[in-house]
Amino acid sequence: MSSRRAVHAGTSAGRRSLQRTLAYLLLLLLTLGTLFPFYWLLQMSLKTGFAMFEMPPRLIFTPSLENYHAVLSREFIASFSNSTVASLSTTVLSLIFGVPAAYGLARTRFRGEGLISFWVLGTRMAPPVAFAIPFFLAYMRLDLLDTIQGLVLVYLTVNLSLVIWMMRAYFEGLPRSLEEAAFIDGASVTQTFLRITLPLSAPGLATTAIFCFLLSWNDFFYALVLTSSKAVTAPVAIVNFMGYMGTEWGKITAGGTLIMLPVVAFSFAVRKYLIRGLTAGAVKG
């Protein structure tokens, strides 16, 4: 009896380890499949001329930076710096206005809270084309078309709501006792906020700032519609390499690699908060 039970346990343990091996094998295949497109872009950007399109592809080759030299023309560098300036300005402005607002909203209870959460989420969800039309018309009048200021203003829509919602949740999660202690010691609301709460929120602020930067950096639609030459951002500049003269794959793959590297690096830093950021704080996880 007992021996039969032992045999039974043995086969089920064996089956379980077989199951586990299969699961890992499947996982390995899925990982490779997921990374393949990403790898393909990278390896193409490091090849030149005919080798880029050679089939079967050469797996071992001497990497060349020729495409990178070619793509770093003055125009492309200018577009890169436009992207940087627009993304950084948006981040700074969104934090300056959004963080105090998030704090205020976290520390008061009021009746329209549900409405404001819908407003913020709705802004995150709204199709950019709906905002782009009125912004485009207003910018024609205000001479803001093809300017970085114009881009920053339109990026504030999504970014400001992102900051308010992410930081509000963060402030609500902080213990109130330190603030209460500061009040008893006679500190004002502003002193408490600046000296006690903000320093405690450094990790949340850093995460939120990175999200703001990524959202603006990754934007394609607004830059396509609202800029044309001097304020063009890097994503639009890359697409311009797919021109009437044919597609310049070398420049496109090298440029694409250049704009994605900072993004991938930053994203790894905030990977635990990706969902929170991508849902504008509406969902934890």
Partner: protein
């Protein structure tokens, strides 16, 4: 004597409480003041443009023909609802959303189940899976364009090894939509994966243990216990992906430009073409308004569901 002492004490407490109430009220007012500037800016950059959009959708506004601006009531909407191209764009959108969202949920759920463990190296693999989601959408579109342009496509080459001649992916009505669905699915399955993984890791262990002790197979546990518990997370992930799928733009702009013909032209892209390529801003506004209302209605659903989830916690 005793009375007065008590009285004095009561008076003092009352005074203190009054003082504190005043102080709290003052603080409350300051907190509200903190929120005002940002909410004002948000009002100017979101509510004002939306009202403006509603306004222009009732006109024949066309910036390339100055001086012809007229209020035409609901005429744009009437024209729109009778237009084949508009209904085609809705049909493209429905197919695009259906396939991308279902595939993202299925793949995301599958990988989340495989990764649901606290092993170190699985956490490393999880970080690799997030790459597609964080890439600039333009880069995603470029990658898949490279993979699907026939004479340079490794996909076509791999098929040719198997003796199959790959189609001209991006200029064939069926395969062009297929290519966009593949690109969108690749980019966003990590989102559903991460959301469902978070939900899986917060799941209570007791019902799972109990079912295993009762001799349930892992498929039974998955079907009768895990999936029902995951339902709220699945619905929220679905709604988020559904709304975002309505905004697909860079992939279409870069990979197919809506073509061939109008085979990959969803409503959002159609609105962009009308407003910015053909300068029919009034008409484009009416299409955008319809998409906006749709996305806001779905967002309201999310607010409801997420609110309820928080209540149950």
């Amino acid at each position: 004597m005793a009375e007065t002492r008590v009285e004095r004490q009561v008076a003092r407490t009352l005074a203190k409480r009054g003082e504190r109430a005043g102080w709290t009220r003052q603080r409350e007012r300051l907190y509200v003041a903190y929120a005002v500037p940002a909410l004002l800016i948000l009002f100017v950059v979101t509510i004002v443009p939306t009202l403006f959009l509603l306004g222009t959708s009732l006109t024949n506004l066309n910036p390339s023909m100055p001086g012809t601006l007229r209020f035409i009531g609901l005429q744009n909407y009437q024209v729109l609802l009778q237009q084949d191209r508009f209904w085609n764009s809705i049909w493209v959108q429905v197919r695009l959303s259906f396939w991308t969202v279902s595939l993202q949920l299925l793949i995301g759920l599958g990988i989340a189940l495989l990764l649901n463990s606290r092993l170190r190296f699985l956490e490393l693999i999880r970080s690799l899976f997030i790459i597609p989601m964080v890439l600039p959408p333009v880069v995603v579109a470029i990658i898949w364009k490279v993979l699907f342009v026939p004479n340079i496509s490794p996909v076509s080459w791999a098929l040719s090894l198997a003796g199959i001649q790959g189609p001209a992916w991006l200029v064939h009505p069926f395969w062009a939509l297929f290519a966009i669905i593949v690109a969108e699915t690749w980019e966003w399955f990590p989102f559903t994966m991460l959301m469902l993984l978070a939900a899986l890791q917060m799941m209570p262990e007791e019902p799972l243990e109990a079912a295993k002790i009762d001799g349930a197979s892992s498929v039974q546990v998955l079907w009768h216990i895990v999936l029902p518990l995951l339902k709220p997370a699945i619905i929220v992930a679905l709604l988020f992906r559904l709304i975002d799928s309505v905004k697909a733009f860079p992939h279409i702009y870069i990979m197919t430009a809506g073509g061939p013909g109008v085979a990959t032209e969803p409503t959002n892209f159609y609105a962009y073409l009308q407003a910015f390529t053909f300068s029919l801003v009034g008409f484009g506004s009416s299409i955008s308004t319809i998409i906006l209302i749709l996305t806001l209605a779905l967002s309201l659903l999310i607010v409801r569901i997420v609110g309820r989830m928080v209540d149950y916690e």
